[in-house]
Amino acid sequence: MTHTSRDSLRLVIPSEPKRIAEADEFVESALRERGVPESLISDLAIASTEMVNNAIIHGNKKDASKKVKISMTFTADEVEIRVEDEGRGFNPDNVPDPLAEENLLREVGRGIFIVRSLMDNMEYEQTDEGGMAVIMRKSFESS
């Protein structure tokens, strides 16, 4: 790892599904520029695009006038990725278990489960503006 102090960066995009690639490019470039191992970059890219898709589609209901903010904060040991939308939020504990036999063939509903599996930690909070923020952390030790 090349960075030794805390640094942060942020991308704000309108809630259009076509902007997902831009969010991925932002996250992957920031990780690569800081020397994060490739094995971790794909996990972080998968988790980030899951949450940005959720923010665009479920949080902001694809309303292009609403924004999705993606913030990345690096310390020597870990990266924190925060994805904020302007939606009303939801209870992640109410999401059906995607591993249950009756849900196994469902097309949707695996995003949060995958993020929890790939990240060290995942939290939700209400933003000051009344939207929803998902905060994910991954240690560089886990590569």
């Binding site: 997902i20 998968i46 898709n53 097309e107």
Partner: protein, 117 residues
């Protein structure tokens, strides 16, 4: 994501490349599978060799394609599943519902062996 297509022994082989992460690019794969079903092409292999990674959107497209094909007496089989995608299929238990093969020829051959449409 880019998508190319070929046919071998009556089996449609779809070769996506890049990342399957959602948005309009990923929709191309979903539409292609539905186009094949509409055209009566019910034996489909997805060659994943050139897919860097996919998120739940990509998994959902594969599941949707597989169930649509099976509902029409066909099937969707996977070939060249990379380590990263294998790991996602394992943690989501989808490894138990897909037929996956080490190579495209093996996947194509499996249709003759199983005798499905």
């Amino acid at each position: 994501m880019q998508l190319s297509e070929r046919e071998d022994n009556g089996v449609a082989i779809l070769m996506p490349s890049g990342k399957i992460m959602g948005g309009p690019d990923a929709a191309i794969l979903r539409e292609k599978i539905h186009e094949l079903v509409k055209g009566g092409k019910l034996q489909v292999v997805i060659d994943l060799a050139k897919v860097d990674w996919m998120n739940s959107n990509g998994l959902g497209i594969l599941i949707s394609g597989m169930t649509t094909l099976r509902d029409n007496n066909g099937d969707l089989k996977l070939a060249n599943v990379t380590e990263k995608i294998q790991s996602l299929l394992t943690i989501t238990k989808l490894i138990t519902v897909f037929e996956a093969y080490d190579s495209v020829p093996d996947a194509v051959q499996s249709f003759s062996a199983s005798g499905s449409n």
